[in-house]
Point group: C2
Chain length 323, copies 2
C-alpha cells in the first residue's frame, strides 16, 4: 500500500514536471507554428489582414472630430482612448451611441505637450511618482519610466480601465500612449498581466521581440501577437507621406498588420496644442487624416486584396490555446 | 492705589467696548461714507473707473487666444484663470512672461459643458462631495452648492490658490466661476475668509446686497466692494449686443464698475465645447470679443471720460480701514 502510494506520488510529480515544462515551452512560443492568426480567425493562411488604428482619442476636439470622421469612412477600423484627457466626455458619448465601434484604451502615463496637459485619474497624492514638478504626468516616456513606482503605475492603469468601464466603455483592446508600458520588463509584465486579467488583447508585434528580447518571456500561451506594425516616423518628409503609406500597403505581407495613425485637423486648437512640435503635430495629423480617408487608400486596399479587421476580432483568440 | 487701578481698569473696559462697537459699525458699513473708492485710489470723487474683465482663462485654447489678444489691446484690463482646466499651462506661460498682466483666480467648483470636462485640483478621494456621478465637478452652481461639504470646498479652493502660486502666478484678485461661492452664506463666508487671509480683493458689488442680504454681514472693514457690475445676459438678442454695451458705457456712473466679458473665437474648438449651449457659447464669446476689441469701444471709453483700472489697484486698499 505504501509502495503503491509512493509510486503514484512519483508519477504525479513527473506528470506535474512535464506539464510545467510544456507550459514553459508554450510561454516562450506563444504563437503556434501550426496555425496563423488569419487561420485561427477563419481566413485563408495567406490572408493580408490590416487593423487601421487611430491613437489619442480624447486629447482634443480636433483629434476626436477627425478620428470619428475617419472611423465612419470605414477605412479606419479601430481606435484607442486616453482616459485622463479633457475631451474624454465627447468620446464617451460617441462610444455609448456607437457600441459597434472598435474602441480600446490608450493607457496614459505621459502628458507630452506644453500648452495643455493632464494628470492621472487617481488622486495626485496616491501616485506621486507619476508626476513631474508641475503636477502633471511626465512629458516623455523615458522620464515617466525612470521615475515611476511600478505599483503606483499599475494602480493608475487599473483606475483608467475601471473609469472607462464605469463611463460605459467596453474596451476591445489595450495599448500604451507613447509606448511607456514597453519601456522596461517590469512595465511590460504589468501590461501583460492587467490585459490578461481583463481578457483583452494588447498591441504587440513579432518584430518587437528583436528590439526588446524580454518581451517574449513575459507572454502566456493565450496571448496574441500581431505580425507587424506600420507607423510613420519623423524621417519621412511631409511630401513623401502618401508614397510611404502606399509602399507599405503594396508590400503588405500575409498575417495581421496594424497601421497606427494619429488623426486631427491642422486647426487652431491642434496648432496651439502641438506648438513647436512638428513631429506628431497638427500638420502631421492632418496628413495622416488626408491619407486614410482618401479614395487612393480605399483603392489600394482593394487592389492589394487587403481585408480590414478590428481588435474585437483579435480579442476572440485571447486566452485560447487550441490551434 | 487700588482705587486708581480700578478706575483705570474700568476706563480700559469702556475703551475696549467702544472700540468693539466701532468695529461692529465698520463691519456693517465696510465702505466709508466719507471717501469713495476712486478717492481712496487718488482719483477725483466723481471719476468713472472701469475694470473690463475677461472670465474663464484656461478653459480652451480659443478662450486663451481671444483673451490674451484682448488684454493686449489694452481695452480689457483684467482677467481670471480657472486652475483645474486643461489649457492652464498656456496661461501660466503667459503669466510668467507678462508679470504686469492683471490676472486673478476664477475659483472653480463647476464643470458646465458636456464634451470636455474637468475635475478638482485635489484628489477625487479627498473631495467626493464636489463630484457628480461621472467623477467631474458638478455642471451647475446650484447642484455644486447643494451637494458640497463646505470644508471640502474650502480645501479645494485653497489648493487652487496654492497651485497657482506654485506655478508662478501671483493672483491679483479672486472671483468664482458661475458664482458658486455666492450661492450661500456659508460659501460666501469662506470666500471672504480665504480672500482676507491671502490679502486679495474679490468680486463683489454693492448691488448684490439687495439680492443676498447675508453678504454685508460677512464683510470686515478692510474689504472693498465695487459699486456696480455689468454683465450681459441671455435676454439680450445677438443683434443688440453692441447697443447693450454702448448704453451701459454711456450711462456709467461715478465709482468703480466691473464689466464682465467672456472671450473666445467662434471656432471649431469653441463650437465643440459649447455645443447645444448658445448662452455663453461660442458665438456669444465671439460677440464679446468683437465688442471689447473694437474701435467703437475705445472711442466710447474716451468720449465718456472713463478710466480703465485693474484689480491690482483695488488690491492696494484691501485690509486698510483709514479713509
Amino acid at each position: 500500500m505504501r509502495r503503491k502510494l509512493f509510486a503514484a506520488t512519483v508519477m504525479l510529480m513527473l506528470a506535474a514536471a512535464s506539464a510545467a515544462a510544456l507550459h514553459k515551452r508554450n510561454r516562450s512560443l506563444p504563437q503556434s507554428e501550426a496555425k496563423t492568426i488569419p487561420e485561427r480567425l477563419g481566413y485563408p493562411r495567406d490572408a493580408k489582414l490590416l487593423i487601421v488604428h487611430a491613437d489619442d482619442l480624447g486629447v482634443a476636439h480636433s483629434v476626436n472630430r477627425a478620428s470619428i470622421k475617419a472611423l465612419e469612412t470605414g477605412l479606419v477600423s479601430s481606435a484607442s482612448i486616453m482616459i485622463p484627457c479633457p475631451w474624454l466626455p465627447e468620446i464617451v458619448a460617441y462610444a455609448r451611441t456607437h457600441p459597434e465601434a472598435d474602441l480600446g484604451l490608450h493607457l496614459t502615463l505621459t502628458s507630452e505637450w506644453s500648452s495643455s496637459r493632464w494628470g492621472p485619474v487617481l488622486g495626485k497624492e496616491r501616485v506621486p511618482s507619476l508626476l513631474d514638478s508641475s503636477g502633471y504626468l511626465y512629458p516623455s516616456e523615458r522620464e515617466a519610466a525612470a521615475h515611476m513606482d511600478i505599483p503606483q503605475a499599475e494602480a493608475e492603469i487599473r483606475a483608467q480601465i475601471a473609469r472607462a468601464k464605469a463611463l460605459g466603455i467596453q474596451p476591445t483592446h489595450l495599448d500604451s500612449h507613447m509606448g511607456t508600458l514597453y519601456q522596461s520588463k517590469a512595465l511590460f509584465e504589468m501590461l501583460v498581466r492587467v490585459a490578461s486579467e481583463n481578457k483583452l488583447p494588447f498591441r504587440l508585434s513579432q518584430e518587437w521581440f528583436t528590439r526588446s528580447p524580454f518581451m517574449r518571456s513575459q507572454l502566456g500561451p493565450g496571448d496574441v501577437v500581431l505580425d507587424r506594425i506600420i507607423s510613420i516616423e519623423p524621417t519621412v518628409a511631409p511630401e513623401d507621406w502618401s508614397r510611404f503609406y502606399t509602399e507599405e500597403i503594396k508590400n503588405l505581407r500575409a498575417g495581421v498588420t496594424s497601421m497606427i495613425v494619429h488623426l486631427a485637423f491642422a486647426d487652431e486648437e491642434m496648432k496651439g496644442l502641438t506648438f513647436g512640435h512638428p513631429n506628431w503635430g497638427a500638420e502631421w495629423r492632418q496628413r495622416d487624416f488626408d491619407f486614410v480617408t482618401s479614395d487612393a487608400f480605399r483603392k489600394l486596399l482593394k487592389e492589394n486584396n487587403i481585408k480590414l479587421i478590428t481588435w474585437r476580432e483579435i480579442g476572440k483568440l485571447v486566452g485560447k490555446t487550441e490551434h
